[in-house]
Symmetry: C2
Subunit: 427 residues, 2 copies
């Protein structure tokens, strides 16, 4: 029997009615002749409510106990989903991450899955049950402590279960119709993408697209699991994320793949500029060693050549705003020994990324990209590129205009022939 | 180092402030030089809220999933208590029932503890941690399923942990000052009992006293664990429940033990009367076999001799109101074959029980008891006795008057020399 893994997020499980709707969807999938394994998040805002409770009790709760607390959220939703399925006349069994065999490392709050031993799941499937698994959580390999995977971790749970069970597909149910060529709240003409490569999806997720959790896409790519991102509110097909060749028939395969998959944006980063760094060997290394020790994740780096021959240079880098304070403190501590003159912190930046596997063989992409930004009056502060991506940093207040201009320049707006560019492209 | 096991109920853990107060109390016990293991219930009304959620999703939720759901409540409170202790500069580790080694049978919703394997607890104590354990829950021995012990089960968890760890005392923290000679809401002159035998406490708990869960007293008696019932809101001593000889010094031992420990009452039962039963061998057996098959717990039974020589008799028995419907249906199904003429269901009854180990050697107790009821104008409908208890069934609306009359008749009212009768009686 084919195995389908489904994931339902908190917004699909907000209350009893939502849970019943999800249960009906699961039951339909089962009735269609599939073994069904479901990973669930905590209901609606319950994760935030638990976090608030923790804050009320302790300003800096120990990570082990925070994980113990947070995992109660999925425990509640999984039991309720199992009950709702039972109420439809089907049998269901819920399992915690630990019971489901989700083995992680020891990093409380941001654990990584290192193995999945789904013995209890397969046993339950063999007995004809639908299986509901608590997302976002696991048990550490050596210390047997309860761990959580960090925000969005239920996507990763679902993909990891799909890989361990050799599932045919991993369906990620969410409150949008799929992955779009840009955020529809900013670009009303953004189109739903029918099919996208895992490579491109990875870049989009890394650059601010919030539909799929980055690690889940990495996991799916490594184990070659097709992901189907779709809405839990409609029966419509969503977006298939896969590097496997398309199977929608031969007709589509003749159509050329689009050059550009989509435009992502991100306002979650800040920029730190280290001003007046002596232009000597090893100074940059000292700076980034200190920043790394503060556990900040650096994204883009630019080193400016000073205009006058002062022997000084400026180094700018971006990082998540949440890492900003720690990095600034780490840099202040080394100002004396490194000998730079000052620090600037700028959290009014925005990042725009253009992603497309077709960039590899289309050298004109960057020219079109920068022309579009120039015509929209958007000044570029930093640039970074990968084989299939160009990212720029701009002022935050210009970011929306920039996204719309680039989206239009690459013919992604929905009037311009969605069917031709995107239907069954075989990618 | 002495080991103290403490239990805190939901009313002591209603919100963040309460949790911090409990944490301070735990920290004091630790600082006084004890290893501390704490069993906690779910916060405030959270158990009822989870039950409501389950009802919204499914009118008859499967017991396995209901247990999975309910156990989230203690998971939340134990993590928060551990955080609050951590915030006081002490280290604490929380453990689920399963992690703590609370092994039960397979009966979801009313599991019995069959073993406690506290390896992780002793390991954590050896490392200097305070240990917080989720009450009310365990893991089944053969199927490894999460189970719950039924309402009030956290008392039993605490006593079972105390027994397994050979603790010096099990402190049950609650929202009253201890065990009273009667419910103070009905008898304002009721006195706190300083010391009571486990045997008497068992009878009081079985007859409606809600301070301690019946099974926890049975467990404590079997393993000879002293229980100290006390308020989490004051530092005052509460009630010591133990069959061990008193240790408050020789002075107290000379004082004679009181004849009567207390008066319990219970409005949770109903009375079923099977009318017109043919007075033949085996008819009662048929009736009670049917009732037992409905899983009703029968308490008292009376068979009336008919006034006229009709060859018919009436059989009355009491049972929990929650078992009433099932028992009535079971009886209706056998009315034809057994040949009785009708059934009466009466849920307006109340039960009063007088408990005291001194009854054994004081034959005048029952005379005083019935005289007090008669003078208070209370009609007795059923009577049952044990070696140390007399119980009667009355009209529910007369029950409070009856309790007060009996309490006064046995000199239990607080004006009449609490110190003489109850201080250090060495029982």
């Amino acid at each position: 029997m084919p195995i389908v893994v489904q994931k339902y997020g908190g917004s699909s499980l907000a209350d009893a009615e939502s849970i019943k709707r999800v249960a009906r969807r699961i039951a339909e999938t089962r009735k269609a002749g599939n073994d069904v394994v479901v990973a669930v998040s905590a209901m609606g805002d319950s994760t935030d409510e638990l976090l608030d409770l923790a804050q009320d009790v302790s300003p800096l709760p120990p990570p082990r106990e925070l994980d113990m607390l947070m995992t109660a959220g999925e425990r509640i939703s999984m039991a309720l989903v199992a009950m709702a399925i039972h109420d439809l006349g089907m049998s269901a069994r819920s399992f915690t991450g630990s019971q489901a065999g989700v083995i992680t490392d020891e990093a409380h709050g941001k654990a990584k899955i290192i193995d999945v031993t789904p013995g209890r799941i397969t046993e339950a499937l063999d007995k004809g049950h639908v299986v509901i698994v608590a997302g976002f959580q696991g048990v550490s390999q050596t210390t047997k402590e309860i761990t959580t995977l960090g925000r969005g971790g239920t996507d990763t749970t679902a993909v990891a279960l799909a890989a361990a069970l050799r599932a045919d597909v991993c369906e990620i149910y969410t409150d949008v119709d799929g992955v779009f060529t840009a955020d529809p709240r900013i670009v009303p003409k953004a189109r739903k993408i029918d099919r996208i490569s895992a490579e491109e999806m990875l870049e989009l997720a890394a650059c601010g697209s919030k539909v799929l959790h980055l690690r889940s896409v990495e996991y799916a790519r490594r184990y070659d699991i097709p992901i189907h991102v779709r809405s839990s509110f409609t029966p419509k097909e969503g977006t298939i994320v896969t590097d496997q060749p398309g199977s929608e028939g031969t007709e589509g395969e003749a159509v050329e793949a689009p050059i550009i998959a989509g435009v992502a944006h991100d306002r979650s980063e800040a920029k730190i500029t280290v001003v007046g760094v002596p232009d000597q060997k090893g100074k940059a290394a000292e700076i980034f060693t200190a920043v790394a020790a503060s556990e900040a994740n650096i994204d883009m780096i630019v080193q400016n050549v000073s205009a006058t021959d002062t022997g000084l240079t400026d180094i700018s880098f971006t990082l998540p705003k949440t890492d900003g304070q720690g990095a600034m403190e780490a840099l202040q501590a080394i100002q004396g020994p490194v000998g730079f003159s000052g620090l600037q912190y700028d959290d009014q930046i925005g990042k725009l990324s253009l992603v497309g596997a077709g960039m590899r063989s289309n050298p004109g992409v960057s020219a079109t990209f920068f022309r579009a930004l120039a015509e929209a009056g958007v000044n570029i502060e930093m640039i970074s590129t990968s084989e299939i991506r160009i990212s720029v940093v701009t002022r935050s207040e210009l970011l929306d205009d920039a996204v719309r201009a680039v989206h239009t320049a690459f013919g992604l707006d929905s009037e311009e022939g969605e069917a031709v560019v995107y239907a069954g492209t075989g990618r």
